[in-house]
C-alpha cells in the first residue's frame, strides 16, 4: 500500500469531488473536505506503528519514473526529519478546517483551494526528487494566493500579490540552483534524486556549492522568513482569514526550514558552512528584532505574526549551531511553533469574530467575562514565550543548547529575545484580559463548542509535548544524528 501517496493525494481526491458538488450544498462540501483531510490524517497516523525509530533510512519509499528522458522521478519517502512535519501538516489541516467552518463566502472554492494547498504542503515534505519537490513547492503558492486574495481582509489583493510575487521570486532562484545541481550530477545520467545527489557533494568544488546554496537559500529564506525577507509575512498574516493564517504559520513557514535542512544542508554542505556566520547573525536579528517589532504592535494578529519571525529565528539559531541538539531543537521548534502559533491565530480569530477589532488597547478586563478564553489564551501565550512545562520551551532550549556550543555570544544575545517575547505577550495579556473591565464588551459570549474543538487539542498537545517530549523526539533522534554524523 502506497501510504505516502494516499496521505498526499487524498486531499486532491477530495478537491476533485468538491468540484462536482453543486455550490449550494455547503454542508456536503464541508463534509467532503473533512472526510478527505481526515483520511490523510488517519493514514499519516497509521504510519506511526510502522515507522522505525531506529534507522535514518528513508521509509515508506515509493519510486517510479515520471519523465524518464530527464531523469525525473516520482520519488517519495519520509525519515525522522520529514515524518513529524507530515504529521503536523495533516493534523493542522484538520484543525484549520474546523476553523474554516465559519467561512460563508464561496464555500466551494474555498475548500477546493484549501485541499489543493494541503496536497502541496504534504508533497513538499514527502518528495525526494528535486523536480517533484519544486512542483509541490510551487503548488502551494496558487491556492495560497487565492485563499488570501479572495477570503482575506481589507487589503487582501495587495497582500496576496505581494506574497505571491515575492515567494515566486525566491523560488525562481531555487529552480536555477536545482538545475545547476542537475547538470552537476555525475553518474550514468543526470539526476534530480536528492539522495543520489547528496552522495555526490564531495566531487563539487566550493564555489559551485556556495552559488547553489545562495540560490536555494534565497528561495528558502523568503519562506522561513529570515531577515530581511520577512516583511511579506505580517501583511499576509493580517489579511489572511484565520484558518489560512493558521496554515501559513503552522506549515508553510516550516517548508523553508525543512528545505534548508533537507536540501541546502545535504546538497551544498560547503556552501552551508560558508554561510554559517551570516546565518547566525540573521538568526539573532530574527530573534531580537522580531521580538522588538512585535513589541511595537497594537494589532494582536500582527503581533503574533512578528512573534513568528522571532520563533523561526530560534529554528535558524538551532540550525546555525550545526550540532545535533540544534537540529533537533529546530525540528522540535517547528512542531511546537506550528501547534502554538496555530492556536494563537485561532484565538485571535475568536476575539476578532466577536469584537471585529484586534486592537490590543480596545479591550480590558476580559478575563472576568470570558474566563475560558482568557485561560486558553494565557496558556498559549505562556507556551509561546517559552515557559517550561509547555511545548515551546523544549524546542527553544534545544536550539539554544545547540547554538551555544558554536556561537556563545550570539546565543547569549538571543536570550534577550526571550525577555522581549515575554514582555510583549505579558503586555498583551495585561491590556486585553486584566485590569478594569471595559463595559463596551459586556455582551461578548465565551468560546463556542466549535472554537473549543479546534483549540483544545492544540492546548492539550502543548502541555503534553512540554511535559513529555519523548515521543516526537524519538521520531527524529536517529535521523538527525546521522545527518550530522556524516
Amino acid at each position: 500500500m502506497n501510504m505516502l501517496s494516499l496521505v498526499t493525494f487524498a486531499p486532491l481526491a477530495g478537491a476533485l469531488i468538491i468540484l462536482c458538488i453543486p455550490k449550494e450544498k455547503e454542508k456536503a462540501i464541508q463534509a467532503v473536505a473533512f472526510l478527505f483531510a481526515g483520511i490523510s490524517l488517519i493514514a499519516s497516523l497509521a504510519m506511526l506503528p510502522g515507522f522505525s525509530r531506529g534507522t535514518h533510512e528513508m521509509q515508506f519509499v515509493e519510486r517510479f519514473a515520471w519523465i524518464p528522458s530527464f531523469g525525473v522521478q516520482y520519488f517519495m519517502g519520509v525519515d525522522g526529519l520529514s515524518y513529524p512535519l507530515v504529521l503536523l501538516t495533516t493534523f493542522m489541516s484538520v484543525i484549520a478546517l474546523v476553523g474554516s467552518l465559519g467561512i460563508e463566502k464561496r464555500v466551494k472554492e474555498y475548500f477546493f483551494w484549501f485541499l489543493v494547498l494541503e496536497v502541496g504542503m504534504l508533497g513538499v515534505f514527502c518528495a525526494l526528487d528535486l523536480i517533484l519537490f519544486y512542483v509541490f513547492w510551487e503548488l502551494t503558492l496558487v491556492p495560497m494566493y487565492f485563499l488570501i486574495g479572495v477570503w482575506g481582509g481589507p487589503r487582501k489583493e495587495f497582500a496576496a500579490i505581494k506574497f505571491f510575487l515575492y515567494t515566486l521570486t525566491g523560488s525562481v532562484f531555487m529552480l536555477l540552483a536545482i538545475l545547476a545541481l542537475y547538470f552537476a550530477s555525475t553518474g550514468p545520467a543526470h539526476t534530480f534524486d536528492m539522495l543520489e545527489l547528496a552522495k555526490m557533494t564531495g566531487g563539487w568544488d566550493r564555489h559551485f556549492q556556495i552559488l547553489v546554496f545562495l540560490g536555494l537559500y534565497f528561495g528558502m529564506a523568503i519562506k522561513v522568513p529570515a531577515f530581511p525577507f520577512h516583511t511579506w509575512l505580517p501583511l499576509a498574516h493580517v489579511e489572511a482569514p484565520t484558518a489560512i493564517s493558521v496554515i501559513l504559520a503552522a506549515v508553510l513557514l516550516k517548508m523553508g526550514v525543512y528545505g534548508l535542512l533537507r536540501i541546502s544542508y545535504s546538497l551544498a554542505p560547503l556552501g552551508f558552512q560558508w554561510f554559517l556566520p551570516a546565518l547566525i547573525v540573521i538568526a539573532v536579528i530574527n530573534i531580537v528584532y522580531g521580538a522588538l517589532c512585535a513589541m511595537a504592535q497594537t494589532d494582536m494578529k500582527k503581533m503574533v505574526a512578528y512573534s513568528s519571525v522571532n520563533h523561526m529565528g530560534y529554528c535558524l539559531l538551532g540550525i546555525a549551531g550545526m550540532t545535533t541538539a540544534g537540529f533537533t531543537g529546530a525540528v522540535f521548534q517547528m512542531l511546537t511553533h506550528g501547534i502554538i502559533t496555530g492556536a494563537l491565530f485561532l484565538l485571535v480569530g475568536v476575539i476578532y469574530d466577536r469584537a471585529h477589532t484586534r486592537d490590543i488597547s480596545a479591550f480590558g478586563g476580559l478575563a472576568v467575562k470570558l474566563p475560558v478564553y482568557a485561560a486558553l489564551m494565557s496558556l498559549t501565550c505562556f507556551a509561546s514565550l517559552g515557559l517550561p512545562g509547555l511545548a515551546g520551551f523544549i524546542g527553544e532550549f534545544l536550539c539554544f543548547l545547540g547554538a551555544f556550543q558554536a556561537w556563545k555570544l550570539a546565543a547569549t544575545i538571543s536570550v534577550l529575545g526571550i525577555i522581549a517575547t515575554a514582555a510583549f505577550f505579558l503586555r498583551m495579556m495585561q491590556k486585553v484580559f486584566l485590569g478594569k473591565f471595559n463595559e463596551k464588551w459586556a455582551d461578548l459570549p465565551d468560546m463556542t463548542a466549535r472554537e473549543l474543538i479546534s483549540i483544545v487539542p492544540l492546548a492539550a498537545l502543548t502541555v503534553l509535548f512540554g511535559v513529555y517530549p519523548k515521543w516526537p523526539l524519538d521520531l527524529m533522534n536517529v535521523t538527525l544524528t546521522h545527518m550530522l554524523g556524516k
Binding site: L165, Y166, T169, F227, P228, F229, H230, T231, W232, Y289, L292, C293, M295, A296, Q297, T323, T324, A325, F327, T328, G365, A367, V368, F382, L387, P388, G389, F393, L398, F400, L401, G402, F404, Q405, K408, A411, T412, V415, L416, I418, I419, A422, A423, F424, L426, Q430, F433, L434, G435, K436, F437, Y468, P469, K470, L473, D474, M476, N477, V478, L484
Partner: protein
C-alpha cells in the same frame, strides 16, 4: 520514605489541578481543605525524611532518576543520544528546605481559609498556592538542573498569577508584570549558565556536574561565566540589588500569598539555587566575592528603605530583601551553612510577620502604620506572636534569628573583609531598629485612628493557630538546630577538591565530561554511581565541618557578647524616637535630613530607573518597527519590485524600438489587407466564407502541385 520523595511535589500539583478543574467556584466550598490535606501529607513525608537524614539512617545525598526524554546532542564534535533524566536528589539542605516549604505553605493555607473566605475566586486562590508550593518543591528535590529550571520558571508563573490575583485593579496587574519581567531578566543569566554548563559538562545532573568541578575539569573562565549566570538568576528570584524592585510591589497580592512568596517559595529559591550549585561558585572565587558585596548592598539599601516606610507590608517586604542580602552575603563569603540556616529561620519568622500583618490588616482595614497604634490591647495573640517574630528578626539572644545572624556575621568576620563586616553589622542594627519601629507604631501606645481602632478585633482561630505555631518555631528553631552542631551536619558545606586550572598542567583534563560521565555505551548512569560516590564523600564533609567550619561560625568572644547589647541599644533608640502618639522625635529628625528621606522614599530611584528602562525598550521597539516598515520593507520588497520595473522598462524600450516595429509592420500589413478584403465580401454569410476558403484552398493546392 525517602524513596517516595518524588511524590512531594506531585501531591500539591495534583491538588492544584483538582481544585482548578474539579470543583466549581464557591466562597464556602470545603475544597481548599484538599490543598491543606495534601500539604499536610507532604509535611509528614518531609519531616520523616528530615529525621531520617538527621539521624543518619539514610545515606545522603540520596539520588534516584527516571528516564524522561532523549535527544541527540554533540559535545566537542562527538554525537551521542543524551538521555535526560528526571529525578530526585535529597541531601541535607534539600531535606531542611522541604520541611520549611511544606510547613510554611501548610500554615499559609490554613490561615488563608479564614483570610480569603469571602473572595469571589476563593478556589482559584488555593489552586495557585498549591501550584506555587509544588513548583518550589520541584526545585528543591530535583536532581537535574533543567528540571530545576523548569520548576523555577513555573514558580515565576505562579508568582505572576498570585501577585495579580486581584487583576481587576491596575496595581496588581502592573506588579505581576514587573515581577515576572524582573525575574525573567535574572532568569536569562541562569539560562545562559545552563547552556554553558551543558556545553562543558554534557549533562544537567547535579551530581555529574559536581563531579566535573570536583576533578577541576572546568576551565576557570568558564567557571566564572557560569557562576555569574547562576548568580544573576538568583539575584532576580531572591530580589538582590538591583533586581529587588519587584518584591516590594509584589505585596499587591493577597497577604498570605505574600507570606508564601517572602518566606517559603520564590525568594528562597534563589538562595537555594546558589547553595545547590555552590561548587560552581567555589570554583569562581571572584564571583563569590561579588556575590558577597551584592548581598551586602542589598541588605543595606533595603534596610535603609525600611527605615522610612509607613506601609506595614512594605516595611516587611524591605526587611525580606534585606535579610536575603544577609543570606547572599553569607554564601558569598563561604558561609554556606550560615546562609541556609538563616534561610530556614527567616522563613519561619517572616511567614509569621506577614501572616501577623495580614491579621492586623484584616482587622483594621489599612496598611498604613500611622493609622494603627495601640493594637496590643485588641489583638492579644497577634501582638505576642508578632513580638516573637520581631525578637527573632532583630536577633534578641536565644531566638532563632540570633543564632543564624550571629553565624552569618561570624563568617563575614572570618572572611577578613572588614568593611563588609561593619556594613553588615550596621545593617543588622538597622534591622532591629526598623522592626521595633514597626512594632511600636502598630501595637504600642495609644490608638491614633480611633474609628479603625474601634473596629479592630482578634482574628479567628484558623488565623491565630498558624501564628502561634510559627511563633514557637521563630523562637526555638535556632536553638534546636544550633544544638550539637546539628546545623553543620544537616547543611554541610560542599567542597571541590581541585580548583579550576590547578589540574591542567599535570594531566590534561578532557575537554568535556562526555567521556567521563557519559558511559560510551549509553544508559546506566543514573542512581548507582552517584550513590556510591555519596557514601565516600559524606564522611569527608562531616570531618571538614567538625574541624573547619565550626570556628568560622563564631564571632570573637568580645564581639559575640557585645552584639546583643548593640541590638538592644538600637531597639532603645527606636523607642526613643517613636514613643508617644505623634513620634515628634522622629519627625524632627526627618525634617533635618529631608533629602535623605526623599531618596529613601523614592526607593533609591531604582524604580524610576526601571521605568525609564521600560520606556527605553518601548522606544527601541518602536524604532525597530519603523525600520521594518520603512526601510526593510522598502528596500527588500519595494526595492526588488523597483529593480524589476527598471529591468522591464529597459526591455520594453528595446522591444518598442526594435522588435515591436517589425511586428507592427506585419500586423499593420495584415490589418490593412483584412480591411481591404472585407470590403469585397458580403457580411455574415457562411457559404460565402466557405467559398473563399475553397477558392483559397484550390489556389494553394494548385500552387503547390505546379511548383
Amino acid at each position: 520514605m525517602i524513596e517516595h520523595a518524588y511524590l512531594i511535589p506531585l501531591i500539591p500539583l495534583a491538588a492544584s489541578a483538582l481544585m482548578h478543574f474539579g470543583a466549581k467556584e464557591d466562597p464556602h466550598s470545603p475544597a481548599p481543605w484538599i490543598g491543606v490535606v495534601a500539604m499536610a501529607i507532604c509535611l509528614g513525608m518531609s519531616l520523616s525524611i528530615l529525621s531520617a537524614v538527621a539521624s543518619g539512617s539514610v545515606a545522603v545525598p540520596y539520588e534516584h532518576n527516571w528516564p524522561w526524554f532523549s535527544f541527540a546532542a554533540s559535545i566537542g564534535g562527538k554525537s551521542f543520544i543524551y538521555d535526560m533524566p528526571v529525578g530526585v536528589l535529597i541531601d541535607g539542605p534539600a531535606a531542611v528546605l522541604l520541611v520549611v516549604v511544606t510547613l510554611v505553605s501548610l500554615m499559609v493555607q490554613i490561615y488563608s481559609i479564614a483570610y480569603m473566605h469571602d473572595d469571589t475566586r476563593y478556589m482559584r486562590y488555593f489552586g495557585f498556592v498549591s501550584f506555587f508550593t509544588a513548583s518550589m518543591l520541584g526545585l528543591v528535590v530535583s536532581s537535574n538542573l533543567l528540571v530545576g529550571f523548569m520548576s523555577w520558571e513555573l514558580m515565576g508563573l505562579a508568582s505572576y498569577l498570585l501577585i495579580g490575583f486581584w487583576f481587576e485593579k491596575d496595581g496588581p496587574t502592573e506588579a505581576q508584570k514587573k515581577a515576572f519581567m524582573t525575574t525573567k531578566l535574572g532568569d536569562s543569566g541562569l539560562y545562559v549558565a545552563l547552556l554553558f554548563l551543558f556545553a562543558k559538562v554534557g549533562s544537567f545532573q547535579l551530581t555529574q556536574i559536581h563531579h566535573f568541578y570536583d576533578k577541576g575539569y572546568m576551565p576557570a573562565a568558564a567557571a566564572a561565566a557560569i557562576a555569574i549566570g547562576l548568580l544573576f538568576g538568583a539575584m532576580g528570584k531572591s530580589a538582590q540589588f538591583p533586581l529587588f524592585i519587584w518584591l516590594p510591589d509584589a505585596m499587591e497580592g493577597p497577604t498570605p500569598g505574600s507570606a508564601l512568596i517572602h518566606a517559603a517559595t520564590m525568594v528562597a529559591a534563589g538562595i537555594f539555587l546558589v547553595s545547590r550549585t555552590y561548587f560552581c561558585f567555589l570554583a569562581a572565587p571572584q564571583v563569590m566575592h561579588a556575590a558577597a558585596w551584592i548581598g551586602c548592598a542589598t541588605a543595606f539599601l533595603a534596610a535603609a528603605m525600611a527605615l522610612v516606610s509607613y506601609d506595614i507590608k512594605r516595611v516587611l517586604a524591605f526587611s525580606t530583601v534585606s535579610q536575603l542580602g544577609f543570606m547572599m552575603c553569607a554564601l558569598g563569603v563561604g558561609g554556606y551553612t550560615a546562609g541556609l540556616f538563616h534561610l530556614t529561620t527567616h522563613a519561619f519568622f517572616k511567614a509569621l510577620l506577614f501572616l501577623g500583618a495580614g491579621s492586623v490588616i484584616h482587622s483594621v482595614h489599612t496598611n498604613d502604620l500611622r493609622l494603627m497604634g495601640g493594637l496590643s490591647k485588641k489583638m492579644i495573640v497577634s501582638f505576642f506572636t508578632i513580638l516573637a517574630a520581631i525578637a527573632a528578626i532583630s536577633g534578641i539572644p536565644f531566638t532563632s534569628g540570633y543564632y543564624s545572624k550571629d553565624m552569618i556575621l561570624a563568617n563575614i568576620w572570618h572572611s577578613g573583609d572588614r568593611p563588609l563586616f561593619f556594613i553588615m553589622l550596621f545593617t543588622a542594627l538597622m534591622t532591629a531598629f526598623y522592626m521595633s519601629r514597626l512594632f511600636i507604631l502598630a501595637f504600642w501606645g495609644e490608638a491614633r485612628d480611633h474609628e479603625k481602632h474601634h473596629h479592630a478585633h482578634e482574628s479567628p482561630f484558623l488565623m491565630t493557630g498558624p501564628l502561634v505555631l510559627l511563633a514557637f518555631l521563630a523562637l526555638t528553631s535556632g536553638f534546636m538546630l544550633d544544638r550539637h552542631g546539628l546545623v553543620y551536619k544537616l547543611l554541610p558545606k560542599p567542597t571541590i577538591s581541585v580548583m579550576p586550572g590547578e589540574v591542567a598542567r599535570e594531566h590534561a583534563p578532557p575537554a568535556t565530561l562526555v567521556s567521563a560521565t557519559m558511559p560510551a555505551e549509553g544508559g546506566e548512569h543514573a542512581a548507582a554511581p552517584s550513590e556510591a560516590k555519596a557514601e565516600e564523600h559524606a564522611p569527608a564533609h562531616e570531618a571538614a565541618a567538625e574541624h573547619g567550619e565550626h570556628h568560622e561560625g563564631h564571632l570573637p568572644h568580645a564581639l559575640h557578647l557585645a552584639l546583643p547589647f548593640l541590638v538592644l541599644g538600637s531597639i532603645g533608640f527606636a523607642f526613643f524616637l517613636y514613643k508617644g502618639p505623634d513620634y515628634a522625635a522622629a519627625e524632627s529628625l526627618k525634617a533635618t535630613f529631608a533629602p535623605v528621606f526623599t531618596v529613601l522614599d523614592r526607593r533609591w530611584y531604582l524604580d524610576d530607573a526601571f521605568d525609564l528602562l521600560v520606556v527605553f525598550c518601548d522606544k527601541v521597539a518602536a524604532l525597530a518597527f519603523w525600520i521594518d516598515a520603512n526601510v526593510v520593507d522598502r528596500v527588500f520588497v519595494d526595492g526588488w519590485g523597483l529593480l524589476m520595473r527598471i529591468v522591464s522598462e529597459i526591455s520594453n524600450l528595446i522591444d518598442a524600438l526594435f522588435v515591436d516595429r517589425t511586428v507592427d509592420g506585419f500586423g499593420g500589413l495584415s490589418l490593412d489587407l483584412g480591411v481591404g478584403l472585407r470590403g469585397l465580401v458580403k457580411d455574415g454569410q457562411v457559404q460565402e466564407y466557405l467559398m473563399y476558403v475553397a477558392i483559397a484552398f484550390s489556389l494553394a493546392a494548385t500552387l503547390i502541385l505546379t511548383r
